[in-house]
């Protein structure tokens, strides 16, 4: 286990370095735009002035030098200065983090609470009425684009129920009731497609396990059905579901970008869109790095949780 852990951590580290290179190249290969943006639209700036800014910002140095300088800063907690507000990037991102984390966690919680019981129900009643209905609903929700669903909820909600999402963000710690009013609907909308795919996975995974010999054995030795389902089927069918959950973390993170933009939640996802529109490259760089880092960490945790769920996997070679 320990050896696997070290190997896995090493992989994650290599991926992180790769991520930083990818993000750096993608956003810095654009010829010296940052200087032009900083110079603004004023025609008073001559090409020479802009070039001076470029040299000042180090944009005229070779890419490798720039990368090492930027990467060194990142390690030391200096992620650069926003081109738009001239404040340190991290100090701008930091306050936004709780919003995205809360939204993501709530969406995942909602998805699990809905998907797990429904998936089990569908599997236990395979090809029955509720199974058919659930399968249809899940495949429909997989196809519903997140942004369209959000728009419909917003518009129809205000039209029919006079529901308007509260403006002005309040933290869950300072004003829990207000905060939940603000987050519940967006989180549910964000969680629907996740719930749909989790339910499908739960169902097929349960169906696979139901046919195993040890389930028959469990019944044969006289276990009550509830115990067969909960202790033998559920636990064994969780592994593929956990894998999917890890994979879906990326989808949720991507989804926060859209959901936060539509429901005007001041999170990191909305910040990405704002900063791309302003071409504030240091901010975009930092945000993509953080999102990628989060995904890599979730994948790591997913892999490690297999060992806990399935004692057969011990990772000791």
């Amino acid at each position: 286990m320990q050896r696997y852990l070290i190997q896995r951590l090493l992989y994650t580290f290599v991926s992180l370095v790769g991520l930083s290179i990818l993000v750096f190249i993608l956003l810095r290969a654009v010829p010296g735009d940052a200087a032009v943006i900083l110079a603004g639209d004023e025609s008073a700036m001559t090409e020479e002035d802009i070039d001076e800014i470029r040299t000042e910002m180090g944009l005229n140095d070779p890419l490798v030098v720039q990368y090492v300088r930027w990467g060194g800063g990142v390690v030391q907690g200096d992620w650069g200065i926003s081109l738009f507000t001239s404040q340190p990037v991290l100090s701008l991102i930091w306050p936004r983090l709780p919003v995205s984390v809360e939204l993501g966690l709530m969406a995942m919680l909602f998805a699990v609470l809905i998907a797990a019981p429904l998936g089990i129900l569908a599997a236990l009643q395979q090809d029955g009425f509720s199974d058919q209905v659930l399968r249809f609903i899940s495949i429909l929700f997989l196809a519903l684009p997140n942004f369209w669903l959000s728009t419909m909820v917003l518009v129809l909600g205000s039209r029919w129920y006079g529901w308007v999402p509260p403006v002005g963000y309040e933290s869950i710690f300072s004003n829990p009731w207000y905060n939940l009013q603000q987050f519940t609907i967006p989180a549910i909308v964000l969680g629907t497609s996740l719930a749909a795919s989790l339910m499908r996975m739960m169902r097929s995974s349960m169906l696979e396990v139901m046919r195993e010999d040890y389930i028959r054995t469990a019944r044969a030795k006289g276990l009550v059905e509830r115990k067969v389902v909960l202790r033998h089927m559920l636990r064994n069918s969780l592994i593929p579901v956990v894998t999917l959950f890890g994979l879906m973390a990326g989808v949720v993170i991507g989804g926060t970008v859209i959901t936060e933009s539509i429901f005007s939640l001041p999170g990191m996802g909305r910040l990405v869109i704002d900063t791309i529109n302003r071409r504030d490259y240091p901010m975009v760089q930092a945000l993509i790095m953080i999102f990628g880092f989060a995904t890599l960490m979730i994948n790591l945790l997913t892999d490690l949780s297999y060992a806990w769920l399935d004692p057969r996997i011990s990772y000791s070679k």
């Binding site: 654009v30 196809a143 942004f147 933009s261 990405v272 869109i273 975009v284 993509i288 990628g292 995904t295």
Partner: protein
Amino acid sequence: MTNSQEPNQTTLDGGTMAVRSDSERPWIIGISKALWNKPLGFWSFFVLLIITVFAIGANWLAPYGIDDSTGLYTAAPGFSHLFGTDHLGRDVLSRTIFAGQVSLRVGFMAVALGTIVGAVAGLVSGYFGGYVDQIIQRIVDVMMSIPTILLALTVIASLGADALNVTLAIGTALAPRTARVARGSALSVKELDYITAAHALGSTPVRVMFRHVLPNAAAPLIVIASVQLGTAIITEASLSYLGLGVPLNVPTWGNMLSGAGLTYMTKAPWMAIFPGLALTTTVLALNLFGDALRDILDPKLRGSK
């Protein structure tokens, strides 16, 4: 559904699949016949066909042009304008049809790009193994650590937003997943006897890869491409909706939902409802079709429905 006994395919990583080799008939006929027996798959194919026909024939089939004004502003859906008209008096049905053309083209090109790049990278990675494999897999890991829409956004942030860049961005974002699938297929066959035989007969590695390994990866690649087409279309729509996709003057399903579609949402909801429905229907049909295709092409999953 388990009427025909399939030979048990054992694959190395358990997740890949191999095409049956027991039939003599051309594969396309085999697939069509199997599809006929899957009502959901068949109907979704039928729906996709209709959508494609409308997209390709938009110039002839759409009752009005993209920017033609009908003189009626925000008119509700009715017999003369099935989907209503928008704030500039344009026929929403016609615009939805034209938008389908752009959305499908961007989606299709992006998937083609992602599949070609991903398949080549994945085959090379799985077939040659060693350092090549390690390097390609680390790149794939990194790319997969960024969610599809964010990776696409990053590419657009550096290239700028227009139809071609959106295609490139989505294609780039899809490629790593295809590479994973192609690599798995390559791994599952590269130790088999017929590959060794091909080597013994003096085939070059490149020839073996494309003539013998690629056909084995075809089935899973087709399945993942059909699912990715749905992802690509939704991603394009999302990007356009966020104002970072296809420019607003070109109608796409995503564009029609943003901007004026949003502003007029309460007054003329049909402006946003119908493009959204078209988008959902297309993606739904693609998902169902992909499901059916996977059942047909993957003997391991057959009968486990």
